[in-house]
């Protein structure tokens, strides 16, 4: 997409942040440190970071607001030359919702549940003294609603927040943020809770409004792909510090920090040109950050100096800064994508004449009395991976659970395993079947019993399905841990001593311990950071290939399917609308829904 990347400095800076340091109170552990940035009129700055990087904390600090337990310890924040941190309470109150406004992550929790939305919208105009009369404010409210493409009739304005969809709630929050024509707006992951199609609409709205009002914007996100088409400049945050700041093109084409480059390589690629590569390890939380360069433990470029001392801010070119001891060497590597491998094209081809392992025929499923799956027909081929793609509420997880025997409600139709009809509930299926079909859950924080050691967790399937001696059990456990690239020393640990990525590996190991032929993976990466997600996908793809597993891969992210599967089924509203080979479906989609999903999925 073409855009005029106006060099920094030429235009007036609406926001200037210098040397911001935010710590946990009272422990004094730093959440953010040495954060300095500028945003200019009409410019969107994308602030990108993984979990626990401290990005949200930076966002609210721009309004001089911190939650209980955190405080701004040092630094300067200026909006139009006014120092926000030293303002009087009254001045601060006036500027909040006036010159600077905030769009929260989760509007469903951020709108007052007991007030009608019309009143909440009017309120922000009233307290900031917008217009001369109530009629002025009501007119402005109607205008705002139109701008975010919502109706402004009395009936809609009389609704309570819970009577709106997630996308509508987020639009109301955006309308509020633009109400008093702010100078700068902070958007804190406003689309994280939304489906891609809704997200695409919200992003369009944000882009149009910032342009037409000339508003500066800080767009906070964990997803580099989301800001790729929105932000003029991007700031990459890692463990509380900005590691690289530059224009969109500078970052995407000539990133000078190893983390920026690696982060880019871990974004799933819907075009299927390049392979997905994760970053080892995980992002450290405040209080657990290593000394020296915090990225050093995960970095391929690491040298002794990195472990000793945090690198200073270096200027690559005007406006493009980086913090890495070896930024020159990193930057000297040609184009970012050339450093990553191209995808193995043979992945997406289906072998001829394969046997069906799981066949689903004319299946309807109910949740209580509501029909949630309609007339499902699909099949999983032996030694192949089938991706099941759909947005929330599409029925993809229900279908996966029906196959796994975890849907204790009414199911009509036939689900067969190797030609034999499966009982509805897992407990009614023969032991050999329960062993052959293994299910990996979405949330690794919920799927491992926090009261048990990893050893106890792994021995559960071994105890149920095999008659093993103590030493055989231990050998098997060490064996499956090795398969998922974990150390056997973890056996005596408890789940909360492990990172999210490690937990998900343990969950996979538990499934593998049963020696299954079919592996069902239900959104197994949706709780993980992108860099960790990529590593898990790599692992699953190689396990599936090497062990000859038949795999059902459930995901909401269409961009992931090329990295792992040969076939894909697209679901919406409880129906499969498209089914076929991955390349065929993605390159020449037939169903309207698939086309829409493809065009709405953000790409880098």
């Amino acid at each position: 997409m073409a855009r005029e990347a106006a060099p920094a400095g030429e235009r007036e800076a609406v926001l200037k942040v210098h040397g911001l340091r935010i710590v946990l109170d009272p422990s004094g552990v730093d959440i953010d440190d040495e954060v300095s940035l500028q945003i200019h009129r009409g410019e969107v700055l994308g602030l990108v970071g993984e979990s626990a990087s401290g990005k949200t904390t930076v966002g609210t600090s721009l309004l001089n607001y911190q939650r209980r337990g955190a405080k701004i310890e040092a630094g300067r924040i200026e909006i139009d030359g006014q120092d926000v941190l030293s303002m009087s309470t009254e001045a601060l109150r006036k500027i909040r919702g006036g010159a600077i406004s905030y769009v929260p992550q989760d509007s469903s929790a951020s709108l007052n549940p007991a007030l009608r939305i019309g009143k909440q919208l009017l309120e922000i105009l009233e307290i900031h003294g917008f217009g001369e009369s109530q009629a002025d404010r009501e007119a402005r409210r109607a205008e705002m609603m139109a701008e975010v493409l919502l109706p402004s009739d009395e009936q809609f304005l009389r609704r309570y927040p819970h009577q709106l969809s997630g996308g509508q709630q987020q639009r109301v929050a955006i309308a509020m943020a633009f109400a008093n024509r702010p100078r700068i707006i902070v958007l804190d992951e406003p689309t994280t809770a939304l489906d891609v199609t809704t997200q695409a609409h919200v992003l369009d709205t944000v882009r149009d409004l910032t342009r037409s009002y000339g508003v500066a914007a800080l767009y906070i996100t964990h997803d580099l792909a989301v800001v790729a088409n929105l932000a003029d400049r991007i700031a990459v945050m890692y463990a509380g510090r900005l590691v690289e700041v530059g224009t969109r093109d500078e970052l995407f084409d000539e990133g000078h920090h190893p983390y920026s480059r690696k982060l880019l390589a871990s974004i799933p690629d819907i075009t299927g040109e390049r392979a997905l590569r994760g970053i080892r390890g995980w992002a450290p939380r405040p209080g657990q950050r290593p000394s020296g360069c915090t990225f050093a433990p995960r970095c391929d470029w690491v040298i002794d100096k990195c472990r000793a001392e945090y690198p200073p801010v270096e200027e690559v070119s005007p406006g493009h800064t980086v913090r890495c001891w070896r930024y020159k060497e990193v930057g000297a590597q040609a184009g970012v994508f050339e450093t990553v491998e191209l995808r193995d094209k043979s992945l997406s081809q289906r072998a001829a004449d394969v046997r069906e392992v799981i066949s689903v025929r004319d299946v309807d499923a109910y949740y209580q009395h509501k029909k949630t799956l309609h007339d499902i027909n699909t099949s999983l081929s032996e030694r192949h991976c089938l991706s099941l793609v759909g947005e929330s509420g599409s029925g993809k997880t229900t279908l996966a659970r029906c196959i796994a025997g975890l849907h204790p409600h009414r199911i009509v139709g036939d689900i067969e395993f190797n030609g034999k009809r499966l009982a509805r509930e897992a407990r009614d299926r023969p032991r050999a079947t329960r062993q052959a079909i293994q299910y990996i859950f979405q949330n690794p924080y919920s799927s491992l019993n926090p009261r048990k050691t990893i050893g106890q967790i792994l021995s559960q399937p071994l105890g149920v399905f095999f008659d093993l001696s103590r030493s055989e059990t231990e050998d098997r456990m060490a064996d499956v841990l090795e398969k998922v690239a974990l150390d056997a020393s973890l056996l005596s640990r408890y789940p909360d001593q492990l990172s999210g990525g490690e937990r998900q590996r343990v969950a996979i190991a538990r499934g593998l311990a049963a020696e299954p032929t079919v592996l069902i993976c239900d959104e197994v990466t949706s709780w993980l950071d992108v860099s960790v997600q990529a590593a898990i996908i790599e692992l699953l793809a190689s396990l599936q290939r090497d062990m000859g597993l038949s795999m059902l891969f459930v995901t909401h992210n269409l961009a992931l399917v090329r990295s792992i599967s040969q076939e894909v089924a697209v679901m919406t509203e409880g129906r499969i609308v498209e089914f076929g080979l991955v390349d065929a479906v993605l390159e020449d989609p037939q169903a309207d829904y698939t086309k829409k999903l493809l065009s709405d999925t953000p790409t880098v």
Binding site: T60, L63, Y65, R67, R68, R93, K94, I95, R96, G97, G98, S101, Y102, P104, D106, A109, S110, L111, N112, P113, A114, L115, E123, I124, I127, H128, Y160, H162, Q163, M176
Partner: protein
């Protein structure tokens, strides 16, 4: 049918079901257990088989149990709860004035405890972790632990017999011949006892729900929109904190109906609580049945009222989308 009405009717139906089951429990406990009423009246004389059987027949205890129940329930519904076994008069007549006394007492206690605890509950939440908050919290925690009779005796020792001798009457023998407003002094100590026993619970739930609301995203958002603190609290925080406190308040007021038993006995207050204690001691079954039914019905009704009020004040429930 409008969803709101349907929702309320379901609650009312469930309340009636519970009331019905309550009556079954009361009936079963007093008339179907092995030590039946006849045995209870006769005591040691029950060994006389002939007298025992005669009395059973007289009381209708020889008929099938469901027949007895239906007849008894019919009586209850029409206001005929039988005659007291101790004083040969209808139960309803003996109860009349005492019910008025007890409800007056409970009413005074409610009027005292609700405003105080709501005020202190929200104030402690707003001044969280200050000395004020800590002392009120620890004080209410201690009061919540104390049995009613401990509070009552402490008040008697302080205001009536030892420290401020005679400042308040130690017993509250309300004279049935005089109107209640002329004897309000007799209500003070029992009512304060009940207030101190019940207020800590309401205070603590309101404090907790206020704190939760103050930490909610929408209160943070209200501040980030630049609302003055006064509006943040009055419009966004406190109204949302009250709804969860409603249930607990109603339950505690209903609890007063049981709490009166010990307090009335302690102060010799002529209400249904002290009458229950006497009737249990004298094995006056019809009276015990009647009082237990009244107290349980008060609980069920208070609960039902709280349910309906909660529906009416919560948009999410009121608009019927659940």
């Amino acid at each position: 049918m409008p969803p709101l009405l349907k929702l309320i009717l379901i609650r009312v139906g469930l309340g009636l079901l519970t009331l019905f089951l309550v009556s079954v429990v009361v009936f079963a406990a007093t008339q179907a257990l092995p030590g039946d009423t006849a045995r209870a009246i006769l005591g040691k004389e029950a060994a006389d088989k002939a007298r025992y059987e005669a009395l059973r027949k007289q009381l209708g205890l020889d008929r099938p149990i469901h027949e007895q129940y239906i007849e008894w329930l019919g009586g209850v519904v029409t206001g005929d709860m039988g005659d007291s076994l101790v004083q040969d008069e209808p139960v309803t007549k003996l109860l009349g004035r005492r019910v008025v006394n007890t409800f007056t007492l409970v009413f005074v206690a409610a009027v005292l405890s609700v405003p105080i605890s709501l005020l202190l509950g929200s104030l402690t939440a707003l001044k969280r972790d200050t000395l004020f908050d800590t002392s009120i919290t620890v004080g209410s925690l201690s009061l919540a632990a104390l049995p009613e009779f401990v509070i009552g005796i402490a008040l008697i020792l302080f205001f009536a017999t030892q420290v401020l001798k005679g400042a308040m009457p130690a017993v509250s023998r309300v004279d049935p011949g005089l109107p209640i407003y002329q004897q309000l002094k007799l209500f003070i100590l029992p009512a304060v006892t009940l207030t101190l026993a019940v207020a800590p619970y309401i205070l603590r739930i309101l404090r907790a729900s206020t704190i939760e609301v103050l930490e909610s995203e929408y209160v943070m958002m209200a501040r980030l929109k630049g609302l003055p603190e006064r509006l943040v609290l009055n419009r966004h925080a406190l109204p949302n904190a009250l709804a969860p406190a409603l249930q607990v308040t109603a339950l505690n007021l209903a609890w007063l109906a049981g709490g009166v038993v010990v307090v009335e006995y302690l102060f010799a207050f002529p209400g249904i609580g002290s009458l229950l204690v006497d009737s249990v001691a004298n094995r006056d079954m019809p009276m015990v049945q009647a009082i237990c039914l009244i107290i349980a019905a008060v609980y069920v009704l208070a609960n039902l009222t709280a349910d309906i009020l909660t529906i009416l004040v919560s948009p999410r429930l009121r608009t019927g989308l659940r």
